[in-house]
C-alpha cells in the first residue's frame, strides 16, 4: 500500500466516532443531538467530545434552539466539512483501487 495516501487522510475525520458523525451528517441537511446519539449508540459525553472536536476544526456547525420549550441542539456539516469529507472518501477510494489485484 502506498503510505503517501494513508498519510494524507484527515486525522480528525479518520477517528471512528467522528467519521460516523460526519457520515450521518453528510446524508442529511441537519440532525439533532439525540438522533445522532441514538443512531450511533454513543453516550452524551462521548458525542459532545467528538462534536466539539469537529466544531473546532470547522467541519460542523451546532445550532441551539427551543422546540416546545425544550432545548433542541442540531448539527450540520459546514462547507469546509463537506469538502474535507469528500476528500477523505476520494482518498479511501484511491486506497481501495490500489489494493485491488490487477
Amino acid at each position: 500500500m502506498n503510505p503517501e495516501l494513508f498519510l494524507q487522510l484527515d486525522r480528525v475525520i479518520h477517528e471512528k466516532g467522528r467519521l460516523a458523525i460526519m457520515s450521518m451528517l453528510a446524508a442529511s441537511p441537519e440532525l439533532s443531538f439525540t438522533e445522532l446519539r441514538d443512531a450511533l449508540a454513543m453516550t452524551d459525553g462521548n458525542l459532545t467530545t467528538h462534536i466539539r472536536a469537529l466544531q473546532e476544526e470547522g467541519f460542523i456547525s451546532v445550532a441551539k434552539s427551543y422546540q416546545n420549550r425544550r432545548p433542541l441542539t442540531t448539527c450540520s456539516l459546514t462547507t469546509a466539512g463537506r469538502k474535507a469529507f469528500a476528500e477523505y472518501i476520494t482518498l479511501l477510494e484511491q486506497i481501495v483501487r490500489q489494493n485491488k489485484p490487477q
Binding site: M1, S28, E35, A39, Q67
Partner: protein
C-alpha cells in the same frame, strides 16, 4: 494493517449515510391507529347506510382527515418525546414522496363529490384510492423500512384484483364486495391493522436512524 480496512470503512460510511436518510418514527402505533379508524369508519358507514355517491366520498374524506390528523399527532408526540424536530428531513422526504399519489386520489374524490351521481362511483373511489395510496406508500418506502413497499404493492394488487372481480358479471358477490364501506374497512382498515400488528412484534422498540 489489514489491506481491506479502507473498503470496510467505505462500507460503514455508506451504511451510515443510508441510515441517516431513513425515516425513523415507529410505525406500529400509527398503522394500528389508522387501521382501527378505517375499520370503525367502514362499519359506521355501512350501519348508517351512507350510500349516495356524494355522501360516501364526503364521509370517507372525513375518515381520512381523522386518520391523517391522528397519525400526525402520533408522529409529533414521538418527535417531542425524542427531542427531535417534527418536520425533519426524512419526514419531509416521505411527505414529498407520498404527495403526488395522494393528490391524484384527492382530485378523484373532488370529481366524485361534484359529478359522482352521474355514474356509480363508489367502487371507482375504492379502486382509485387503492392504487393511489399503494403508489404513495411504495414511493415513500424508498425512505422507510423495506416492508412498507410490500404494503404498497399489496394495495395496488388488491385494487387490480377488485377490478378483475368487479368486471365479471357472473360472480355472485359476497356482502363485503357489494358494500363499498365494508370494502374500505377491509382494505384500508384491515391492511393497516395487519401491518401495524406485524410491526408491533418486529419493529425495534427504540428505532435508530
Amino acid at each position: 494493517m489489514n489491506s481491506n480496512w479502507a473498503e470496510e470503512n467505505l462500507q460503514t460510511i455508506r451504511t451510515l449515510m443510508e441510515r441517516s436518510a431513513l425515516y425513523r418514527r415507529a410505525l406500529a402505533p400509527i398503522m394500528i391507529f389508522v387501521g382501527t379508524v378505517g375499520i370503525v369508519g367502514g362499519i359506521v358507514g355501512w350501519r348508517l347506510q351512507i350510500n349516495s355517491a356524494r355522501s360516501f366520498v364526503v364521509f370517507w374524506s372525513g375518515v381520512a382527515v381523522v386518520a391523517l390528523a391522528g397519525a400526525f399527532l402520533l408522529v409529533r408526540r414521538q418527535a417531542l418525546k425524542d427531542s427531535e424536530p417534527f418536520w425533519s428531513p426524512p419526514t419531509r422526504r416521505v411527505a414529498q414522496a407520498m404527495l403526488p399519489s395522494f393528490f391524484v386520489g384527492a382530485m378523484a374524490s373532488v370529481v366524485m363529490v361534484f359529478w359522482g351521481n352521474d355514474f356509480s362511483p363508489q367502487m371507482i373511489f375504492v379502486l382509485v384510492w387503492c392504487w393511489a395510496f399503494g403508489c404513495g406508500i411504495h414511493a415513500a418506502g424508498f425512505f422507510m423500512p423495506r416492508g412498507i413497499r410490500w404494503l404498497g404493492w399489496i394495495f395496488i394488487a388488491t385494487g387490480g384484483l377488485l377490478l378483475l372481480v368487479g368486471m365479471d358479471p357472473n360472480i355472485d358477490f359476497p356482502v363485503i364486495l357489494n358494500s363499498p364501506h365494508l370494502l374500505m374497512a377491509a382494505i384500508f382498515g384491515g391492511l393497516h391493522l395487519a401491518y401495524g400488528i406485524y410491526l408491533y412484534f418486529t419493529e425495534k422498540k427504540n428505532p435508530v436512524a
